[in-house]
Amino acid sequence: MSDEQIRHEWPLFEVFVRAKRGLNHVHVGSLRAADHEMALHHARDLYTRRNEGVSIWVVRSADVVSSGPEDKDAFFAPSGDKVYRHPTYYSIPDSVPHI
């Protein structure tokens, strides 16, 4: 195996960062690393150097299961006409105070 091939063996990781007051970790990008520990180090150096976060998740990109473009209609179109699934569809009686 050539050096060039070895270099490209580092797998891809997806990086999620949580800002101080954000509730959720937010996807910020990806990077290459030899393993999870190195991925955390690299994520710290690439994505939090401007004071962006207080917590990092890294996940191997290969472990992410995603919906594909071909699933779009079956997955998402049926919710487009179900307005009654939104709480604002319902009018709240005046006698219900805590809602």
Partner: protein, 291 residues
């Protein structure tokens, strides 16, 4: 704890500084009194700040030289970040040195307009790195030593040095971790990486002796609770190095009897002249230039 706010535990209400990305930067010396403590010899304090400041400044420059040369983009950024941390420490320390000597020299004058014999850094900081293994081995030694030093400096009787120590501990803890994980990765890696990082450790170790030599300035200031006696750091340094080296399946060769360097007295190798030639060129070519 109330169930009305199930997500409360996720947020840190005690610190609103980072509510948006890239905000909340703080002046590291905010609220720190800058008067020179009573009874402290100003020349000694200035000399001591130069020692620690020059260590950071010269090491930072060596790290910056890895930009565009590191084996991976991610590591290039890591090394550059570490260099920037040390540059920040250097700025605070050189500024303090200027205040202590009271001659009006600021951080820029001290960094850009001194000659090699006026620099007080240890020789470890100025050594050039033959390859990435040399870089991480040298950084491991430097960060392990400096972390132990800054940790004790945080209790210094000089409030400015104490603040610099407290700030630096957080930074250098990461530097040490970064270097250690690479030394372990290379040492416990392939036969080639093992051999090269072992050679790097062997090459760097003769420079360790100087780190723990106590200079007379340090001894005098340590007596007043201002400075840290380097000799007192040796046990912690050796313990950390032994742990990392064992995890890396490396060996620390018996230290050959090398005369410790005298960087603290301004006696340097030619490497420092090369660094300063590069670092000071613009400032010396255009005095009072601003950019």
């Amino acid at each position: 704890m109330s169930f009305d706010d199930a997500y409360g535990a996720l947020t840190d209400h005690d610190d609103d500084a980072r509510w948006a990305y890239g905000t909340g930067f703080a002046d590291p010396l905010a609220g720190v009194p800058t008067a020179i403590p009573d009874g402290v010899d100003r020349a000694d304090l200035a000399a001591y700040c130069l020692m620690l400041g020059d260590d950071a400044l010269i090491m930072s420059h060596r790290l910056q030289q890895w930009v565009t040369r590191a084996p991976e983009l991610e590591d290039e950024l890591a090394v550059a970040n570490i260099g920037l941390d040390l540059l920040g420490q250097a700025r605070l320390l050189l500024t303090r040195a200027g205040e202590a000597e009271g001659s009006g020299r600021d951080e820029d004058t001290l960094a850009y307009l001194r000659d090699p014999h006026e620099f007080r850094n240890v020789l470890l900081a100025e050594r050039s790195d033959d390859d990435f293994a040399h870089l991480v081995a040298r950084l491991l030694v430097f960060a392990t030593w400096r972390l132990a030093l800054l940790d004790r400096l945080a209790a210094s009787g000089d409030p400015v040095l104490a603040a610099i120590g407290a700030k630096g501990v957080k930074e250098v803890t990461y530097h040490r971790e970064y270097a250690a994980q690479w030394v372990v990765r290379l040492g416990d890696g392939t036969p080639v990486s093992h051999e090269r990082v072992q050679a790097a450790v062997d090459a760097v170790y003769p420079l360790v002796g100087e780190l723990f030599e106590t200079h007379e300035v340090e001894r005098r200031l340590a007596g007043r609770g201002i400075a840290v006696e380097p000799a007192s750091l040796r046990a912690e340094f050796d313990a950390v190095m032994a742990e990392v080296v064992a995890a890396a399946t490396l060996r620390l060769r018996a230290a050959t009897a090398v005369e410790p360097g005298r960087g603290r007295d301004g006696m340097h190798t030619a490497a420092l002249g090369e660094i300063l030639g590069e670092m000071q060129e613009l400032a010396r070519a255009i005095p009072d230039g601003a950019w």
